[in-house]
Subunit: 256 residues, 2 copies
DNA sequence: CGGCGAATTGACGGACGTCAACTGCTGTGG
DNA sequence: CCACAGCAGTTGACGTCCGTCAATTCGCCG
């Protein structure tokens, strides 16, 4: 692992409080692999032996049943994933695949569990990470069950605007196809939702979105701090009670 | 706290591995309260200072937005809840209210966090608990997004049958009204789903349900171990990799 | 006996999924 | 250099699932 990469991993909330020695223990037998776009890293039901850390690129966490598919989260660097399965030594409940060319670090699950049992500080950090992931999922379920498709889209757009600096116009981070799946609808329906939402001052031009009248859009979206985890982009210095991950776009950050 | 109650708490996976001393520390300044049915213990957005342990009765975890409500879980004794909020010292994302007369133990969140930071073993147990809760929610989202209402009901019934011993007939543990909300549908729709599902050999008589032809019902339900957490009732001795909570009825066991 | 709430049933409408056709872009190979 | 294939995105038509409103029945408890 290169030094720059090590530092980026080290800067994760998970590792920021631990000793250099413990960090070396955990990252001891690790791999850094580069995967092309569309690579399946993990399938639902697979046993999990590594904690994955996305350093570059992006990864989709998805699930399927009875020939239907849905995406539960899209991860951006730097994020860990499948922490929960590693802690329990359990099989994966979601599949993971790269969306673009990605650099991924794989940490030994066994070393991680050992470190947790030896270092209470690190164990606490893992518990905090898991708590944040859990709360991210709670937000996601509330978003899913309490709002309709149009409302989900409206809130997604508001969240994206905030995350990208709050300017009047921003860029959709994913293909619309993928966004639809993340929002729990079909691509056709997302397309219709975009045309409906034009009445609320949203202008779409390819991946460029501009929110002309934020107030009008907010009256539709009714964003709620207990569902939408708005945080100014670049997440800055994080205080004690704010280490919550879980994302404004209702994606669990890490876990599984 | 009575001795019988202490033993029941002690028997929770969370505490089963810790020293007597640490257990006394954590349960030091705790309250045991009895609440009547319908009592609101916690509202969304409230700050959380205690870890709750349901000893008797049952508790609904729910959420609301824009005059809509949904129930995310129904807890049975013995369960802990709002662990995640306690770990992060964060506000509640769900509300909690008793469904029937309930005995509830309230443990100091501060003491719990202190114990986690002092005892790596306990911290690990908390991480395992949180992981199980997280995975329960993942199952819940998959159930919600990938299956239709009829399929959710069918799988719920199969899960209940297993949990209650696998006999041909069993009892619905909640009012149908509540069950509907848990399954993410309206009472009217649940009623219709019950009458539709009669064609698959399900006979309903008040709270009594008998599954006449399990094979036919399973062909409809297509239960999946990656969604439905079937485990024979009474959960027996649990091995290392099987401490997963999260419930076959797709309810997170503890957390929030 | 009367009233309340749970449960059921029917009628209706809206939201959403499905199927199909069409557009525009991109990359590939003749 | 252009023709063509392939895929994302859009649009329309249609059907289904599900929520809403209303009326009714039933059981429980005052």
């Amino acid at each position: 692992m290169r030094n720059v990469d090590a530092e980026r991993v080290r800067a994760l909330p998970l590792f920021s409080g631990v000793s250099d020695e413990l960090f070396r223990d955990v990252t001891g037998g690790c791999f850094l692999q580069k995967f092309p776009a569309g690579t399946t890293l993990l399938m639902e039901g697979d046993p999990v032996d590594f904690l994955y850390v996305l350093l570059d690129g992006s990864v989709e966490l998805g699930a399927s049943w009875n020939d239907k598919e849905t995406t539960l989260a899209v991860l951006q660097p730097v994020s860990t994933f499948i922490l929960a399965a590693v802690v329990l030594e359990a099989d994966a409940l979601m599949s993971a695949q790269t969306i673009e060319r990605s650099d991924i670090l794989m940490l030994s699950g066994e070393a991680l569990r050992r470190a947790m049992k030896e270092d209470a500080q690190f164990g606490f950090a893992v518990a905090q990470e898991l708590s944040g992931c859990y709360r991210g999922l709670v937000r996601s379920i509330k978003n899913q069950r309490l709002r309709g498709g149009l409302e989900r889209l409206a809130n997604y757009l508001i969240t994206q605007r905030v995350k990208q600096g709050g300017g009047e116009t921003f860029t959709l981070p994913h293909e619309k196809r993928l966004l639809a799946s993340l929002l729990g609808m079909t691509p056709e329906n997302l397309s219709r939702a975009f045309s409906t939402i034009a009445d609320y001052g949203v202008v779409v031009n390819g991946p460029q979105v501009t929110i002309a009248r934020p107030v009008v859009l907010e009256r539709l979206a009714k964003p709620d701090p207990l569902i939408d985890n708005h945080r100014p982009h670049g997440l800055g210095p994080v205080g004690e009670a704010q280490r919550e991950r879980g994302l404004g776009d209702h994606s669990p950050q890490a876990g599984l």
